[in-house]
């Protein structure tokens, strides 16, 4: 069953009078249970795709459509997209001093539960669950008391993103270069977290520069994004070919 359907997507970035076209007719279809990797040269629009799908301010959809579980994403605010089941693991997770991680996670879980008409979790059980999840991605539970990502190293920030992924259990996870800046141990922890998350009832879009991540998270499809469009799709062997030959032969 189709989870994410992106058709002929055109999007621009920037203020109204100086918009720059980045996505120029992008198509991608992600079914439940699938992992899609999106690779491509710098400036091809990979992060823009993640930002447009999640509704980051500053981007404008000028043509085409994007739906998640048959709902039109373009009509929804970022928090409504999250409530629908979309999750973006940030390339650069934001530091928020003064708001503790635990408080933030509780606000998030409560908002999602409320939006879905579910019961909000009991606080004690919630804290226990979060501590276990933090430990499972090698994040010291002490970090939960600190400000959101405050003073975290690059690797700790990325592990915090994966912890949130496991906690929130979205329908679709978009990972925007979650592997960048990670050492090999952290990369394995992140990959293990994503593998633990994925199942027959969700989908994953992995945006990455490096084939290395795909050794740990095996994609069903690999797409090459260049100049705002998917120019080549294939299975995991495409990633190896790219590692070998670069992007020049496609663009």
């Amino acid at each position: 069953m189709s989870l994410l359907e992106v058709t002929n997507l055109h999007a621009t970035v920037g203020a109204q009078d100086q918009q720059k076209a980045i996505l120029k007719g992008l198509n991608i279809s992600v079914n439940l249970g699938e992992v899609h990797a999106i690779m491509g040269p710098n400036g091809s629009g990979k992060s823009t795709l993640a930002n447009v799908l999640s509704g980051r301010p500053g981007y404008t959809v000028t043509d085409g459509s994007m739906t998640l579980a048959d709902e039109d994403l373009a009509e929804l605010e970022p928090h409504e997209r999250a409530q629908l089941g979309l999750f973006l693991a940030f390339q650069y997770p934001v530091e928020i001093p003064g708001v503790s991680n635990m408080e933030f996670l509780k606000a998030s879980v409560d908002s999602l539960a409320r939006a879905r008409g579910q019961e909000q979790p009991n606080t004690a059980a919630f804290i226990k669950q979060v501590r276990l999840l933090a430990a499972s991605v090698d994040l010291d539970p002490q970090f939960l008391k600190r400000g959101v990502n405050e003073g975290f190293s690059g690797g700790e920030k990325k592990r915090n993103e994966i912890m949130q992924l496991l906690l929130l259990e979205p329908k679709l996870a978009i990972l925007d270069e979650t592997d960048s800046g990670l050492d090999i141990d952290a990369l394995q922890v992140v990959a293990e977290g994503v593998n633990r998350y994925k199942n027959e009832n969700n989908g994953v879009v992995l945006i990455t520069h490096y084939q290395r991540l795909l050794d740990y998270i095996v994609p069903d499809f690999v797409h090459v994004l260049a100049d705002g469009k998917i120019v080549q799709s294939g299975d995991k062997s495409l990633a190896l070919e790219l590692e070998d030959k670069g992007y020049a032969w496609l663009t």
Binding site: S54, G55, R56, P57, E77, P78, H79, R81, A82, Q83, F87, L88, F90, P93, V94, I96, P97, G98, V99, E103, F104, A107, S108, S111, L112, A115, G147, V148, Q164, L168
Partner: protein, 377 residues
């Protein structure tokens, strides 16, 4: 600009002539206190410091009736409370910096002298209800105390507090000024002796106008001062914070972090001056004032100032005026949190960074509630 004047002729209290308190240097060689005070009130320096608050209503209130504050913890061993000074406790009065505060001390029929001789077991609490008599708190050498100061009142209260810290003493001072007064003036002067420590955790919510003068002097080598302050100024209210931190001697350390939220229609002024005197080598002084404006018509004035007359110092100061960060808002909303709830979380987080100490728990709900009220409005 009309000349400023005091409401009543000043008579210098007897304990000054008995040598128990040191007269301001200017008065030591003169017996014409009234004209010296008038000159100080109308000096450029003083005018500048009162530029954002109306001075006249405060001056008119200087000789209004004063009541005794409620003192809790004053019975414990190590504390003496008197209405006359019993010994010279090292208080300093600066006429040019605060002529109005000195005048108020002179007008007071009664003054409270609190002396702490050693380490206290329990906190000392001072609760002000409306205008209270001047309080002079001194800590003897190596004494150690926690001071909790709160305020209630709604008209035009004035509270004046002088603190003198002798060598090696430690004072942790927490102050909550959360009641809505029409015009509240709080004057605080702290003199920190050699190797002594002073910490002020200051929390304020809006009043018609709340004016906080804070004058801290590092007058002994190796002394340490810290000011951590959080305020929430609701619509149509105003806060004016005038902080002076003087490093008179070498190897002192000071840190100031002041976070203020100003709602639509509110007004906030922060003037933080660090003065490092000649010879105050090895001083380490930092000052950060951050302001968050909510809504379109918040007024925020901030002026961090450094005056440095020596070379060997470490100094940093900065001030920001901004709105909530779009990046932070997007991060929170991308996790399903509504924009309104995200704004509340971020505003609370901004204040929480500077809400610390024993009175934080009492202050936070009131400050946060004021943020929520603004959102509803």
């Amino acid at each position: 600009m009309a000349d400023l004047s005091l409401p009543q002729v000043v008579t210098i209290p007897n304990y000054f002539s008995q040598g128990l308190l040191a007269l301001p240097a200017e008065l030591a060689d003169s017996n014409d206190a009234p004209s010296l005070l008038t000159a100080a009130l109308n000096s450029t320096l003083h005018r500048e410091r009162w530029k954002y608050s109306k001075t006249a209503p405060v001056l008119e209130g200087l000789n209004n009736a004063m009541n005794l504050p409620t003192i809790v913890g004053g019975e414990q061993p190590g504390i003496q409370i008197n209405h006359e000074p019993q010994q010279n406790l090292g208080f300093g009065f600066d006429l040019s910096q605060a002529p109005e505060a000195f005048a108020r001390l002179c007008y007071a029929q009664q003054v409270l002298f609190i002396h702490v001789e050693n380490a206290l077991e329990a906190p000392l609490e001072i609760h002000h209800s409306d205008s209270t008599v001047p309080v002079l708190l001194s800590l003897g050498a190596n004494a150690d105390a926690i001071l909790l100061e709160t305020f209630t009142g709604n008209l035009q209260p004035q509270n004046t507090l002088w603190i003198s810290l002798a060598e090696g003493s430690h004072l942790k001072h927490s102050r909550n000024s959360l009641d809505e007064a029409k015009l509240h003036w709080q004057y605080l002067a702290v003199d920190i002796g050699k190797n002594a420590d002073y910490l002020l955790n200051n929390h304020a919510a809006g009043a018609g106008l709340r004016r906080q003068d804070i004058q801290i002097r590092i007058s002994g080598q190796g002394a340490n001062a810290e000011l951590i302050s959080a305020s929430m100024i609701s619509g149509k209210m105003a806060l004016d914070q005038q902080v002076t931190l003087e490093h008179l001697v070498a190897n002192g350390k000071s840190k100031q972090v002041v976070h203020n939220i100003v709602a639509d229609g509110g007004k906030c002024t922060f003037n933080g001056r660090i003065h490092i005197y000649e010879g105050a080598n090895g001083t380490d002084a930092t000052l950060s004032n951050k302001n968050l404006g909510l809504g379109k018509n918040a007024t925020i004035n901030t002026k961090p100032e450094l005056e440095i007359y020596t070379d060997d110092v470490t100094c940093a100061h900065g001030a920001t005026i901004g709105q909530l960060s779009d990046q932070e808002l997007f991060y929170l909303t991308s996790r399903g949190i509504s924009p309104q709830a995200a704004q509340a979380l971020l505003s609370e987080g901004f204040l929480r960074q500077c809400t610390q100490g024993p009175l934080a728990e009492a202050a936070l709900p009131i400050l946060i509630n004021a943020i929520k009220q603004e959102q509803v409005a």
